[in-house]
Symmetry: D2
Subunit: 306 residues, 4 copies
């Protein structure tokens, strides 16, 4: 008999068929299949409460701030004066929380197809949204982002695309195409910026980031890739920014620090002027991998088989 008391409940996330991460589980807080996806909130020992969608970790209590600050602040600070913002996806409400920290913002639309997911996150992960859903500046819409953008009239200063990975048959793989990014472009005002969660930058798995970046480049005059390390994902993670005018590489650390104060953003836990610089300072191999992307189109989408 074993004389050692080991954790005995585990979540296994296969990163590839040849690499698995096992998270020791305290409790499965919620497990449900919504109309669109499998949603699980799992309390783990190392990362606290984690959200899994279709068996893929999306964010954790311990380090969601790294992911959400990485996704939100680069396009928000690149834009000179973001007033209206659109969030695509972002069910946890943490991207929304970060956007609202910029005191210039007077209007945020958030479009997530999965109402049930948003309700679950609000109930079970209240520290992720920290009340953001009740902010009077916010309008929540539960519909397909693509349909929303097709009929939308106004234009946004920033659009933040906070989606899970494109899974075959999943709810969002058609939100990773040239056609979708064209819609995004036409819904952005003149100085508009967009950021896109773009998957891992693991050496062997750069298809998605390289192709998102290539596809965006067909639409936006300025496209930059940056990466961050989200510990609960066990891997470095990539993001793309598309911009109509301002190049995020031209923002100096002091300039960003100044804006953080000016917009009364408050204390951030991850992002800073120096950190911004670090995000965009890519290693050689990643720069080379980025050259190999292909254009993603509706008729030839990129997705992972489930």
């Amino acid at each position: 008999m074993s004389s050692e008391r080991q954790p005995h409940k585990w979540i296994s996330e296969p990163f590839t068929p040849h690499l698995r991460t096992l998270y020791a589980v305290k409790e499965i807080v919620k497990s449900i299949r919504t109309k669109y996806q499998k949603v699980e909130i799992v309390n783990t020992y190392l990362y606290g409460k984690c959200l899994f969608l279709d068996d893929k970790i999306q964010s954790s209590e311990l380090d969601e701030f790294i992911y959400h600050e990485s996704l939100t602040h680069p396009p928000m600070f690149t834009h000179p004066h973001p007033r209206s913002v659109l969030i695509v996806g972002g069910g946890e409400g943490a991207t929304l929380r970060e956007v609202l920290k910029h005191n210039l913002v007077d209007k945020v639309d958030m479009v997530d197809i999965d109402e049930e997911l948003v309700k679950i996150c609000e109930e079970y992960l209240p520290d992720f949204s920290k009340g953001a859903f009740n902010d009077p500046r916010v309008l929540l819409k539960f519909e397909d982002a693509r349909k929303f953008l097709e009929k939308n009239r106004g234009r946004y200063d920033c659009i933040i695309i906070d989606l899970p990975e494109p899974l075959k048959g999943g709810p969002c793989y058609l939100l990773y195409t040239k056609e979708f990014y064209s819609l995004v472009y036409s819904n952005l005002a003149d100085d508009g910026t967009v950021s896109v969660q773009s998957g891992t930058t693991h050496l062997n798995l750069t298809d998605l980031i390289a192709s998102v970046s290539k596809t965006l480049s067909l639409i936006f005059p300025i496209v930059r890739v940056y990466q961050s390390f989200i510990s609960s994902f066990q891997q470095p993670w990539g993001f793309c920014i598309g911009s109509k005018k301002v190049d995020p590489l031209n923002l100096s650390p002091p300039e960003i620090e100044h804006k953080i104060e000016e917009r009364n953003v408050g204390k951030l836990k991850f992002y800073s002027g120096r950190c911004h610089q670090g995000l965009f300072s890519l290693p050689v191999y990643l720069k080379e991998a980025l050259k190999k992307g292909r254009v993603i189109e509706d008729k030839q989408p990129l997705y992972w088989e489930i």
Copy 2:
């Protein structure tokens, strides 16, 4: 990215530090720490709902009948006419369910220290007890079995000891000692029989079964070891029977079949006359391993470190 959808929630049970069984989990139905132990009810894909106490599997929906019929019917049929029965432990209520199938039985006392566990099993594993807790012949007591037996006045025909393994600091390791078995003996009537869940009979791990059997032999004139295969335990499992008069080896298959009818036991899924014979027909290596047990005493108990 993985292109395969694998089960991703698992319970890992270390059988030894060098062998683990992983059960794919559908849902953790209940997870709680009672006053006495950690209780989990986990719905697994292969075995259905399983009860884990202190991280050790106790029984599964799929094959609990093997365990509970193995533990109950040998002592019940060895006794010529069991009327009053005591169950020690047996929180799931399935041992109780099996005992009550013998129509001679007019009184069953069940003593389990953990009231909360019994309530949870009744609520979440109703198919285990199948209403047995409401049978008018049954008296439930929530107290330490040892204290109960010390003050008990009546005598039982059969006592069935259905306890988890002896864990250091756990609720039951002092119910595996010579002193306890003496109490059991003195609480049994003249033809009395007792059965004891006695742990795995895995080749390398026969300490417990050998020592329980040796210890019982100091008290009971007839002691027999038998084994059964409980699939959800992944290993062969051992039981001891102590008897004041009748030797279970002397019951022929037809005799047992006759009693099954006579007592109107109904259809069993595991036990039969032939099966009884099989249970007691031990392989050579196990017979030899049984010689190596030691006497378990209060002052020198046998337990696994937690």
Copy 3:
């Protein structure tokens, strides 16, 4: 950082997609793909050296005696005077070792399709064959057993079929069919007996044992199923015996003990007269499961997908 030194190399054997066994590994002694199958010899902590074929455990140093005695001695003792024996498969040489213990035996043919496997076992698992390959009574043939039996002239007293499970595309699934068992029958002398390794008897996975038994019943007047528990397989395991004349159920324990002496078999570690009785004393659920088998034919074989 972990402060505990755990075993860190593991073999994972998926029993089903929902149950995995993890064996802690000391060393991978040999890993090779022969012409027919993937062969691995792995030194594990709990079971010592184990043979895996196509990722399935076949036998372990610790308890191979249980498997090989279970497969060999029932048909050998059921036969009144086995002189010539055929082993189909049995690459480890341990079935051969057991057969040769019967001093009546003067000729053993062993037909295994995979010469490389046999050589590897002889070199890396010498304690399994214990020199049996060099016994002058033994003739080794490396060819397809079916072709061998089609052209073979002599007749055997016993045939022992020691094959891995039928895997699609694997080397042996056509050695589990009615047509093959007919060949076996016609290669057996008048009192002939055959035993067949028939897979797990796990409650949910009785297809193979039930179908082998049903298929044999079309050919042999007497067919009996028996089961044993091979700890390193983590599950109860099933075997079939087909017999032309003697029913293995009619052998009493003393009769078998007498034959063990008479044939100078020496000390066995698992099998005995009582054990024989136990092997054939099946529980109720297994008897019922056996009714559900189907006839396995060349044109409708039974195999597991790889």
Copy 4:
């Protein structure tokens, strides 16, 4: 039976008791216990050949260049004209390979306590050292680095400390103390720089990096922390640089690019001027975590329990 062919050999690395990484294994190339440590070279599917010391991954074929370029080039480029270099540890020979790319270097001493390890790496991981051990500028010493530095007479321009983590009872925990870093300091010439592998920068596990950085600060006028993402470690990784004169933060990207050319370093796969800037651009939480380190002293060392 499982119908899926999954990888079935795995290396499990517990990062903490609550997080495990499983690497699917093709082959265990070498497994040996040297005089100082357990050495394993394992061919994995995702990362190719990996070196494990005492069950901890040290480097992988796929991404060792990230680790070794991160450790080597910052101190080498921070130093204005490194001619003589000392490597402490670095058994794989890959740090040596990187150092030798700087054409200014005319002398490298490498001191690793474990001769057997170095020989194994040279034989089984030849692509890691790429012949560096045979470079005439190199002198290999197999002894304790501390003893070596105590008696050494010359002074180095750069010292690169490439050691496994400090494990209790392991070969190197006394090479992480103030006393050792004092020795390092006194063995460095006037512009001297040192880099130190300093463990993960995972949010919850910053003890080591914070304490190494604090300890170095007692000795060196300039100490900077930087981090990199080594994918095969599944986590962000930290390094410290100590410098007598030049601050690595003052090197601009073009300046570094110029030096890369000037020193004829050739094509790097990870490091560049921009990358250097990124390495030192730490996120807010890490800067704060660094404040919490303690001084590591011989009499109060920092190590992980094994």
